[in-house]
Assembly symmetry: C2
Homo-oligomer: 225 residues x 2
DNA sequence: CGAATTTAATAGTATTACTATCAATAATGC
DNA sequence: GCATTATTGATAGTAATACTATTAAATTCG
């Protein structure tokens, strides 16, 4: 089977981690470790020990821990948009396309054999816990100029375009989409850690199903589909 | 005029900052500095220099920077719920109560003379940039056990109860409320820094108005009001 | 008033997030 | 095949952060 490679914006790294053995180890192990330790507990020192390399070597790939996070999040949004493109290909009805997109956004990821280096399931957990930290900073405008959030914006644009096709008169397609994208991970977090903030039940795929039903219902009613 | 004091859960501080001059200075200056520097740029060392005290003294009030953030957020959510209680008092119609609550949640805060030590306008900006970081941690369950998020949950419960009154058959009142509470600050952030994620225009109160219209419309349609 | 307790100031530690330097090794070009 | 260049590794170092321990000063209370 073919393996694929997502083209990631060059400004997000110093050396392309997809091009070398060390680079791929950095990506692989950082996903595993951020998932386990959380972004705050994760350091380049610990990572370098894990992959039997040195801090200095890792810094040759990524300017900082924050840039590595941005890279991982960019990878994820690019991957998710690609999944949606793939799954909605040849589907004519925009409402069906929207349903497929929301399904992929809300469902728990299975590991994608096309990208053997990446544990998509772990990466999705990182998205839930850490993705907002990628932009909630004082230097968000600088990061944005470097194209750090292009993948997220592009995904938002895609889903918003489905909504616009269904109802061209709805005025808040992007706001509604970004609200749902954020909710798609927030509600998972709440159901697990702050259950009084949601009805969704955290267990075996149930949250994801609840979340799909909740969000699809909200979107369709809101846009008068 | 009377000045008020919000009773904050004792587990959120080591010494009550509202009881001493130093404590009030810590609160006052930390709001100002977190607003200016961001949570990452803010340190107890800088704060101690600003208020002409020492790091050790500040640590006697708050166990950590993170606990201080939790305290400020708890204060904000308590204050906001109190504002909503005040404003919805004697209003019978639940739909009107919901509208008032959403207005207060989305509008830009003016400084409340009842609490002279707190700059509510600055605190609201901190909520926009930093509030999610209060719970997006690996130790969220421990913080939750200490009651760190009671204010947020209580506010969510209140708004959800208005929704339930309007339509007792809607199944996701809490999920919808928490989604809107989060969106109420996310959309402000997006309109300013990542404008491709929203239609809202960042200027002079316009975002807040847009956001109110967007969210109220979404809620009412979603719950079939 | 004097003992007990609280509060403040000083100094110190472990860790983090990097940076710099230089040697060793591997890949590439002629 | 050998020189050039790029890449990695090893070591060390720095400034700042997040806290802690110790001691000194002030305050409270019986």
């Amino acid at each position: 089977m073919a393996t694929l490679r997502l083209q990631i914006n060059e400004k997000l790294f110093l050396r392309d981690p997809q091009e070398t053995v060390l680079g791929r180890k950095i990506i692989q192990s950082s996903i595993k470790m951020i998932d386990e330790l959380g972004l705050e507990g994760f350091t380049f020192k610990k990572l370098s020990a894990e992959i039997q390399s040195t801090e200095a070597s890792i810094y040759r790939y990524f300017e900082s821990k924050h840039k590595l996070l941005i890279y991982l999040m960019a990878w994820y949004w690019n991957w998710l948009e690609y999944q949606i493109d793939f799954a909605t290909n040849n589907i004519k009805d925009p409402q069906e396309r929207l349903a497929i997109a929301m399904k992929m956004i809300t469902e728990v990821n299975v590991n994608d054999d096309y990208f053997p280096d990446i544990d998509e399931t772990a990466l999705q957990r990182i998205v839930i816990y850490e993705s907002d930290k990628a932009y909630l900073t004082k230097h968000v405008d600088d990061d944005n100029k470097d194209g750090s959030f292009l993948g997220y914006k592009s995904l938002c644009e895609k889903v918003a375009s489905f909504i616009k096709e269904i109802n061209p008169n709805y005025d808040y397609a992007h706001a509604l989409t970004s609200t749902c994208l954020e909710a798609s991970h927030q509600q998972i977090f709440f159901s697990r850690h702050l259950p009084r903030l949601t009805e969704h039940q955290y267990k075996e795929g149930k949250v994801h199903e609840d979340n799909y039903n909740f969000l699809m219902d909200m979107i369709l009613k809101t846009i008068d589909a």
